[in-house]
Structure formats: C-alpha cells, structure tokens
C-alpha cells in the first residue's frame, strides 16, 4: 500500500498534522518548519508525479488511469480505497500542491492559534488530495466532506467581518449540496452493475459496466450535478461564495477558491457526466442555462461590488460557472478548456486572494472606496495585482486566455442556436470581466493616494513575495506553454467523450 505514490498525497498531510500535534501551541518556528517541509514535500511529490506521468504516457502506456491501487475497505459494500490518476487528476494534484505551498507562505504570520489553524489547514489539504487521487466514489465523497468541514472553523475562528454567519452559511449550503450528492452516489452504487453482477463504487468499473438504468440516470444526474454544482458556485446556489470568501482568512480563501471549488467541477465530469452519460446528453441543456447565467450574472454582479473580496468572489462565480458551462458542452475541446479554466482560475484567484489579504493586512480595509493610488505605495503588490487582473480578463500569455479560448472554440462546435446563443453570452463575459477588473485596478492601485495614512505602509515582505511569485510563474507558465497540459487533458477526456458518444 505504501508503495503507491498516490497514497503519499494523503499520508504527508496526515504526517503534517501529527507533526503539528507535537508542536507547542505558539511555537511558531516549529509550526512553520513542519508546514514548509510538508508543503514542499507535497509540491515536490506532485511535480515528480507529473513528470513521471508524462514520461509513462510518452512511453505509450495508454491506460485510462495510472498508478492504480485498490485496497478493500468495507467488504460487505465492496468499498475500496481505490486510487488512480489520469492527466486531469495529476494536474489537479499539482495545482493543489502549488496552492497549499503558496497558502502556507501567505499565512506565515497567522494569529491567533497558529497550531490549530495549520491543523485544520492540513486536514483540508488531506481532503483535497484524497479527493483527486480517489477513483472510488465512497472514498471520493469522504475526502470531499473532509475538505469541506474545516472551512467552518477556519472561517469562523480566523476570519473577519460577519464570519460566524458566513461560515455557517457556507458550511450548510455546501453540506446541502453534498446531501444531494450522497443520494446520487447511492443511486449510482445500487445500479452500478447489471442484474446479478457485483455492485461497485469504483468509477472505472461503473463506467465500464454502464449499467445505470436510463430512467434512473436523469434523476441521479440531477442529484450529482447539483451536488457538485453547489461547490462549483452554480447559479442559484452560489451565494455562499461571496460571503464565505469575504470573511475567510487569506490562505483559506486561496485554498477554497483555488482548489476546493475545483472539486465541484472535477466531480461533475468524473461522476455526473462520465457515469451517467445518457442523462448528460439529455439534461445538459438545463444546466447550460444555469451555468450560462452564472457566467454573465457573476460578472455583472462583480461590477458594482465595493469590497475587494466580494468582487473576486463574484468573479469566481463567473469563472467557475464557465468551468461547468464548458463541461456541459460535452466535447473534448470544451471540456479540456474547462480543466484549463480550473487550473487557471485556481492559480489566479489564489493569487488574488493572497494579494487582497496582504493589502488588507496593511490598510485594514477592503473597501475600494477607501483606498487609492496604492501602486505608488506598494508597487510590488500593485504589479502582482495587475498581473492577476490581466490573467483574469484573459490576457494572452497568462493562463486565463488559454482556458477561455479553448472553451469558446470547443463550445462553438455545438451548432444549434441554443448552444451558440449561450456561447455568445458567455463570450460577452470577457468584456464585463475587463470592466470590473479595470474598475478595481483603477480605483485601488492607480490615481492619487486616497488616504494619506497609507503612505506609511510598506511593500511586500519576503514570504509574501515568495508566495505570489510562485503563483505568477505558474500562471505565466500555463499561459505561455499550454500545449503539453492541453494534450494531457485531451487524452484523459477520451474515455469520457467516448462514453458520451455511445450514449446518444
């Protein structure tokens, strides 16, 4: 079991938790050491996995999932701890590792209760990594929930503003989503094999059996898609996002918007679409409407917000809506775009939240009406913010552009008027995005200094620079050299698209 590299993605965070448990409550040095070592190890592991995976693929190993491992857990229900990754999971693991790494540095001076903060933070990471390595629906769901619940405390204890309300709202809404999801998963399990066959939770086996009764598929698809869609901030289940993000501490916002929201999109295609292809073909239109609304609606809402985090949260609604929207186009290109968008949004929004946290830590306000001309005072943070903004509005050379273009070109492949109309609406969001990003940049960074007290503020410290630079390099990396990622993702989508096509 421990010979499987993937398991270590879960073991390392657990070891981190154990390590943290041994630290003294305020022993900042030891806590940081554990976190840095752990997150670096995770990052190194993710990079190594990525390289090795590409090597194996290049060597012509064409299995759907690599590094498979399966250990019986609950035998009576045939629940396994089953792991395996395809290109998408590898990239998601890499993304998570990067953001955990950056998040560690972004919360370098967390206060109070640093030990508890990092304990929950590590638990959250366990959930995230576990989710991406699992190919067993049960363990996947378990890790999914493991990742959700630490949010409550992380926001509640270390947040700001209306944190109690927001934390509760976020937790309850997400749990509400997972209630539907659970039911969907149960339905899939009990229909996972043809009459007389052995029921299974294993995604690959279920997809292979393709035995879910057509009459059940529609219902289960709705359950699972809505379940994951809530986490993917799908309209009208997105309202946890603005409040939650606004109140969360920096690193938590980063991890949540950067990785956790991706769990929703990932689950949507890995479970809802892949396992219920017939329903996906049939019912996609409903969710195209909802996600299409998300895309435009989020962007428009972001235009009038005055709180930096609210702006970013609504922009996340828009961008994550784009992810789901693209997935529902059900063709390789658009779905590839969706994954690219997940990566891109993850990195860029993490960068945004990191920067907002850093700015807030200095100015003690997030209201853009209370700030101005920060570029003169903290040029480094200003430039980073602009880069994040450009990534968000889809500047070529940064990741957002690649993702959005792939989505649009993929989505355009659906010829009927309905799809086209929604694609055009979605493309409009890139203009609106430009509007709100420039509005913020203009008010926050440029122009004359609003508050003379701000002139005393300092620019980024070394660990802040480290955190942001890591993210910027990744954003630019994807933006400049997207094709290897693109190919990896496309290859991973082959079985899913095949399932969809045979189901028509």
């Amino acid at each position: 079991m421990f010979g499987n590299i993937l398991i270590w993605f879960v073991i390392i965070p657990i070891l981190m938790m154990a390590g943290l448990g041994l630290c003294r409550n305020n022993g900042m040095g030891a806590i940081r050491a554990v976190m840095v070592v752990g997150s670096t190890a995770l990052l190194a592991l993710a990079i190594w996995l990525c390289v090795d995976f590409l090597g194996l693929r290049a060597a012509g190993i064409d299995d759907e999932m690599l590094y498979r491992g399966s250990w019986m857990w609950y035998a009576p229900l045939n629940i396994h701890l089953a792991v395996g990754v395809d290109g998408i999971s590898v990239l998601m693991l890499l993304l998570s590792a990067i953001i955990v790494f950056a998040g560690t540095f972004a919360s370098w001076k967390i206060n109070p209760l640093p030990k508890n903060f990092f304990l929950w933070f590590a638990l959250l990471s366990t959930g995230v990594f576990g989710f991406f390595i699992s190919i067993d629906m049960f363990t996947m769901f378990m890790f999914y929930e493991v990742a959700l619940i630490p949010m409550y405390l992380l926001i509640g204890v270390w947040g700001t503003g209306r944190k109690e309300y927001s934390a509760m709202k976020l937790t309850l809404m997400l749990m509400g989503g997972s209630a539907f999801l659970m039911l969907g998963l149960l339905g899939i399990y009990w229909h996972s094999a043809p009459e007389g066959g052995e029921l299974t939770w294993n995604i690959l086996e279920i997809a292979h059996n393709n035995a879910v009764d057509p009459t059940w598929q529609n219902l289960l698809f709705c359950f699972t898609f809505v379940g994951f869609g809530v986490l993917g901030a799908m309209f009208p289940f997105h309202t946890w996002s603005p409040d939650g993000h606004a109140c969360a501490p920096t690193a938590v916002s980063m991890l949540h918007a950067g990785v956790l929201m991706k769990l929703g999109g990932y689950g949507c295609f890995r479970i809802a679409i892949y396992l219920l292809p017939q329903a996906a073909n049939e019912l996609a239109w409903i969710f195209i409407i909802l996600t299409g609304i998300s895309v435009v609606y989020g962007a428009f809402s972001a235009c009038v917000q005055t709180d930096l985090k609210y702006i970013n949260a609504y922009s996340s609604v828009s961008h994550c809506g784009m992810v789901l929207f693209a997935l529902l186009m059900l063709n390789t290109t658009a779905m590839t775009g969706a994954i690219l968008q997940m990566l891109s949004h993850g990195l860029m929004t993490a960068l945004f939240f990191a920067l907002i946290g850093m700015i807030y830590g200095r100015t003690h306000t997030r209201d853009i009406r209370q700030m101005g001309g920060l570029m003169q005072i903290m040029p480094y943070l200003g430039v980073c913010y602009m880069i994040a903004g450009f990534a968000s509005l889809g500047l070529p050379g940064l990741s957002g552009f690649v993702a959005e273009m792939t989505i649009f070109f993929g989505a355009w492949e659906d010829v009927d008027f309905f799809h086209r109309a929604f694609v055009v609406a979605a493309t409009c969001s890139i203009v609106i995005t430009a509007v709100y990003i420039l509005r913020v940049v203009g008010k926050l960074l440029l122009g004359p200094v609003y508050d003379q007290h701000h002139l005393q503020l300092t620019d980024a410290t070394w660990f802040e620079r480290f955190s942001t630079v890591t993210l910027i390099i990744c954003i630019a990396g994807i933006g400049c050299f997207p094709n290897w990622i693109n190919e990896t993702i496309q290859h991973s989508f082959l079985p899913i698209v095949k399932a969809l096509q045979t189901a028509i």
Partner: protein, 489 residues
Amino acid sequence: MDYSQFGAMMPELIILGIFLLVFLFDTFTPDNGKKFLTPFTTVLFLLGTVAIWIVPGCSESVFGGMYVDSPACKAMKCILNVGVFICMLEAAKWVETDMVIIRKGEFYELLLVTLFGMYLMISARHFLLFIIGLESASLPIAALVAFNKHKYESHEAAIKYILTAVFSSAILLMGLSFVYALSGGSLYFSDIAASFNGGMMSTMLLVALAFVLAGIGFKLSLVPFHLWTGDVYQGAPTAVTAYLSVVSKGAAAFAFFVIFVQVFGQVYSQAWEWMLYAVIIATITVGNLFAMRQKNMKRFMAFSSVSQAGYIMLGVMAADTLGLASMMFYILVYVVSNLGAFAIISMIEDRTGLVSMDDYKGLHKTNPYIAVAMTLAMFSLAGIPPFAGFFSKILIFTSVTGSNSMALYMLVLIALINTIISLYYYLLVVKAMWISADEPKIQSFGTGACEKVALTLCVGGILLLGLVSCVYQWLVNVVGETFILPGLN
C-alpha cells in the same frame, strides 16, 4: 425442566452475578470500605464484559424457543456493555459527591438491573420474556432519574418518566393483546411470524402494530412518543441521562428490529413500512427542529438523540442483514460519540454547575483538550468524515436504499437534508467553544483518571471506528451467521 438450559443464558447470568456481588459488597462492607465500591464495580464489570465476549454463545434457542443467545445478540450486548462501562467511568466522580455517595451502591445496582432487562429484551423470542425484559429495563430507570433527591428537576423528570412509561406499557400490552388475538394462540415470535401471511390485513392488525410501535417507540423516543425525552434528560442526573440516551436506546432499537422484521416481516409492505416511514421522518425532523433552539446542553442532547433515533430506525426500514449490521454499527458509533459529549457535559456540570451552551463560550482558551474532544464528538454526531459518525450514517443510508425503491430514496433524501439542520446545531456548540469572543466562564480544570479513560475511549472510538472497517465487517458477519431473515412482503 432442564436447568442446564440456564447455562445458555451466560451473559445474563454474568450480569446477574456481578449484580449480586456488587449488592453484597455494598451491603456488607463497612463504611470505610465503600470507597472501593466504584473500582470494584467497574473492574468487575469490565471482566464481565470480557467474559461475555469470550464465552462462546450457544446459538440454539432454549426454553422452548423463548430465549436465544445468537452471535448477533451477543454482539449487541457487548456494544451495550461498552456503553455501560463508559457510563460507569463517567459517573465515577459524580457518585462520590456528597448527596449521592451514600446511595452509590444503589446506582450501580440499578444500572446493572436495567442492563439485565435489556439483555432479556435482546434475547427474548417470546413476548412474555420480552415484556419482562422491557419493564425491568425501564422501571429502575425511573428510580435512577429521581436520583438527585435534592433537586426538584430530578423529581419532575421522574414523575414524567414513570407516568409515560406506564402509559406506554399499557399501550404496548394492549397492542400485544391484539397481536395475540391475531396469532395462532401463541406468543412465540416464530409462531406469530408463521401465522401471519401476506394476505391478512385488518384494522385490528394495524392498531396492534401501531400500538406495539408506540410501546417500543417510547423507549427509543420516536416522535410523537418522545415528549418525555427533553424533560427527563434535562432533569435526570447527567450520568443517568447519558445512560438513558445511548444504552437504553440501543437495546430497544435491536428489539424493535427483531420484533418488526422477524415477527411482522410478513406484513412489512402492507402495514408497518409506511408507519415507520412516517415516524422516521417525523422523528428526525421534529427532533432537529427542537434541538436547534435549545440552550441547555442536556436538553439539547435530548432532542439531538431523538433525531438520532430516527436515523437508527432507518436500519429497520432496510430490514435486511445489512440493515441490522448498519444499525448496530450506528448504535456503537452513537454510543461513543454521545457518551463523549456527555462525558464533557457532566464534567463541566460537576465542576461548575453550568449546563448552558452560552457557558461554553471560549472553552478552547481554558480547556483546549476538552474543547477538541467535544468538537470531535459533535462532528461525529453530525456525520462529518473522517470521524466515525460519517461512516455509520452512510452505511445505514446505503443499506436503506438497497431495495432501489424510490420511496426509500426520498426517505434518505429527507434524512440527508435533516443532517444539514443537525449540522447547524452541532456547529452551534463548536461555535460557542471556538469562535465566540466572549471571556470564558469556565475556568481551567483537571480531569480525573476515570474521566480521562472514558474520554480516551470515546475519542478513540470516534477516530477509529470508521476508519477501521473490521468492526463493521464483524457485525455483518455475526448478523449474517445469525439471522436468516424472512423474505419481506
């Protein structure tokens, strides 16, 4: 009569033996020896539990089929013993307090007697034995509830409990009399089951089933037979509340399963499936709705346990091997989680007399470890992974949906939506402990050895029961060995 048949009743005999030893010890030791009563009882009970575990069960029935000690029954008894053992540890400090110390022998004795009754409930395969077990499990509890003689609430709780209990036993007897009328003149479970067949349907049967359900539902505090719960849990001594909420409930749930699935299995879909369906929904929902307003921790736990009972009943709804195993697993997890919470409630009550949720504000500052333990217990009760409660919930949901009936999916959906409400109020406790900025009211205090052990057992169970699948596997195995469940109609 063949007295060797008593040999088959080993668990009951062991408990009886312990009871007698404790009784003798309590009666005949001089006052200065009384301080050894608690360790004596606890150790004895632990040994007894181990003995029950080790002594091979005799799976054939005795007394003409009135009594059976199958592996599943034994497993259930062991689960109850775990609960009772933790309860004893938690009570260890309380029984040494001034007002209770002179009666601590009684406390243990009554505890053991009720446990004996529960054993009988679990193993009974004849309604006479069942009624005897039920009553001996329920009447001494009235005395236990009234244990805090100096407290008015204790009396009020006791009177409410005893009146409702007698009322419920009247209802149950009434129901049983109808069952008797419909059966072939026998009160053996197997005979009744044989005499029922899918075709028979009458108003009398429905009334009989409803009354039996109500009678046992009282012990489980199913809605609308739960109204005593809040008041009694609040008024009773905390140690008794803890006992009442888990052990008594667990035994009743098992008996409920046996009676409804084994005895009335033939009229499942005609009659009691829908009754239980309605009762489960009502139980989970009403329990949750009441719990979310409570400030008194004991009352809060009372309503939370009402709603938990609804989840336990889902196992009966599944009505198959997997259902029973999941239900027993759920009970086990519920035992450790709930007792974990009660351990802390009782600790705090002993030290400070505070039981309001508001008093828990800022607990993490003064008593971080206790706050963590309470958080884990709450998460486990709410069904949050990786804690045991998550697994027990999911396993029971899985077992319910096994028949792929849409109605049961909807039932699970309602249950799942209710978990959100329950999460809300469990998080309120977490919020009070961790998030509230108020100055802590509860000073830092140390914990006794017994409490430490109890809490460790609970936390260990919360952390491990789910992750280690062998417990569930074991339960499935023992249930599979025992029950050849009748095909349900």
